[in-house]
């Protein structure tokens, strides 16, 4: 009876289950922080390794995403530039509007082409002087043919271009869809490369943290035995190692964020200048917040996963 009342009094001194759970988490977190700080040089090396591993695919992703946004701005309608032999073929090309696959035809005289060229290059007088060196305007008249939306597939556009090329007074045709298709194919490849590289490097982060956790478990083998002997549950002994992986991954994610911002600033100016020389407003710098959050969160997740997979296996093997 006395024993029962002792047990009841004892139970009142204990924290509720959630409060005890919180206490265990708080102590495990504090213990892990103390250990990481005590071994700050090793911690820094691991954090930087994770940071570099996550920053590389991050940089690729941002680059690909920026290029993809450039192509997204294009309205998606293919056009066929038909170069004409004569300078007064406008009446002939108007007839093409009657073709079933053609939506519209815009005639551009050699003079209009020249004006557009000067405006696009921004070279103004300099280009004007070069052009003046020729015997008259060297630019041909152009008919810009837009296919019907239902005829905008690459095969039908190519068929239309071939048809137009055969017509009298046509010097040649250029389908402006092809460069875009190539760019989109390249972007798709780069995107796959980014995810492939990202997956490999994520695996590397899991393995790095896993290997570190394995060493930490081995170093604390005796302590784990003691903790299990005095009533520590599997979750109790596992918790500090999960925090180890989580904190290393989190810090690695933050490091990758900083590295990425640095890299984008470093490459941003020359890339913007290069793009401007092509008449593009493409910019590399400026990190989308979602990418930053993703990097930090994925760092934490991979670190936690690496610690979980390794520590759980290792700890099961340690019996008091």
């Amino acid at each position: 009876m006395a024993r029962k009342s002792d047990a009841a009094a004892d139970a009142r001194l204990r924290l509720s289950r959630p409060a005890a759970w919180m206490l265990h988490h708080r102590l495990a977190l504090r213990d892990t922080c103390v250990r990481l700080i005590a071994e700050r040089f090793n911690t820094l090396l691991v954090v930087l390794t994770i940071g570099v591993a996550l920053a590389l695919p991050g940089l690729l992703y941002v680059g690909v995403e920026r290029l993809a946004s450039l192509t997204d701005r294009w309205d998606g309608t293919p056009r066929i530039n038909v170069f004409l032999l004569g300078a007064d073929a406008e009446a002939d090309v108007r007839e093409w509007e009657a073709l079933p696959d053609v939506a519209s035809v815009v005639y551009q005289s050699p003079e209009a082409s020249l004006e557009e060229l000067l405006a696009a290059t921004g070279l103004g007088t300099a280009m004007g002087d070069v052009i003046a060196g020729f015997d008259g305007n060297p630019l041909p008249a152009v008919a810009i043919v837009t296919p019907q939306p239902e005829a905008a597939s690459p095969a039908r556009v190519r068929a239309l271009a071939a048809d137009l090329e055969q017509r009298p007074g046509v010097d040649g045709v250029q389908v402006d869809m092809e460069w875009l298709q190539r760019l989109q194919a390249t972007l798709a490849l780069l995107e796959r490369l980014t995810w492939g590289l990202g997956s490999l490097l994520a695996l590397a982060v899991v393995l790095v943290v896993g290997s570190l956790t394995r060493m930490a478990v081995a170093q604390r083998h005796d302590e784990i035995r003691v903790l299990k002997l005095v009533g520590g549950s599997d979750a109790f002994v596992l918790r500090p190692f999960l925090y180890l992986g989580l904190l290393l991954g989190l810090a690695g994610g933050v490091a990758s964020l900083l590295l990425l911002v640095l890299a984008l600033s470093f490459f941003g100016v020359p890339v913007a200048e290069l793009a401007r020389s092509y008449g593009s407003d493409f910019r590399l710098d400026g990190l989308p917040p979602a990418v930053g959050v993703f990097l930090v969160a994925s760092g934490a997740l991979f670190g936690w996963a690496g610690a979980l997979f390794t520590a759980r296996r290792q700890l099961r093997r340690i019996e008091p």
């Binding site: 024993r3 002792d6 004892d10 001194l13 204990r14 924290l15 289950r17 409060a19 005890a20 206490l23 265990h24 102590l27 005796d222 302590e223 035995r225 003691v226 903790l227 299990k228 002997l229 005095v230 009533g231 520590g232 549950s233 599997d234 109790f236 019996e319 008091p320």
Partner: protein, 227 residues
Amino acid sequence: MIEIRGVSKRFPSGKEALHNLNLTLARGTLTFLTGHSGAGKSTLLKLLLRMELATRGTVSVGGVNLARMPRRAVARYRQRIGVVFQDHLLLPDRSVFDNVGMPLVIAGYRAEDRARRVRAALSRVGLLEKEGQFPTQLSAGEQQRVGIARAVVNRPAVLLADEPTGNLDPDLSREIMGLFHLFQQVGVTVLIATHDHELLESFGDRVVELADGRVVADSLEAETDGA
């Protein structure tokens, strides 16, 4: 309190450490378990700590059959068992206070109750003034007393000790044994594995002798038979 019925333990190597062992330890008693190395003392303690499972027979503590205890319940069971080792098994990077308080942290006691209980336990083993020190700063006897304080801080129903005086001089050994008797007097069931015969003779407690995994002598049965 502790019921061991027909217990045998055979290890995967084929060695039979215990053979059809029967033993009952009543609540609030102190029992010495003695015998040569390999007699089965440590194996028996491991069974009671649920570090091993019996190959045959039942081991019950407080009415609970340990073989039927699910894995997740083992930790909570061990929180109710105090254990003292010959080599102390203290955590070297934690203070005396933290070492002793560890079972209370695991059991989820409030900070103020932890501090009160740790100091009470340290006071009982005479080490209150050393609570801030680390195990490496203590003598072997002091480390053993810290181990005892850790074992009893959770007010266990059962206290198991494996060669607790193995590394200590006779005076210290008697001092440590005095502590065990103190816990027995407050209702703790104490089982001490030792082959220190000098120690056994200086106390009049029950002595169970094992040889080749069998009980070959039990002072309690001898007394009963004599009466």
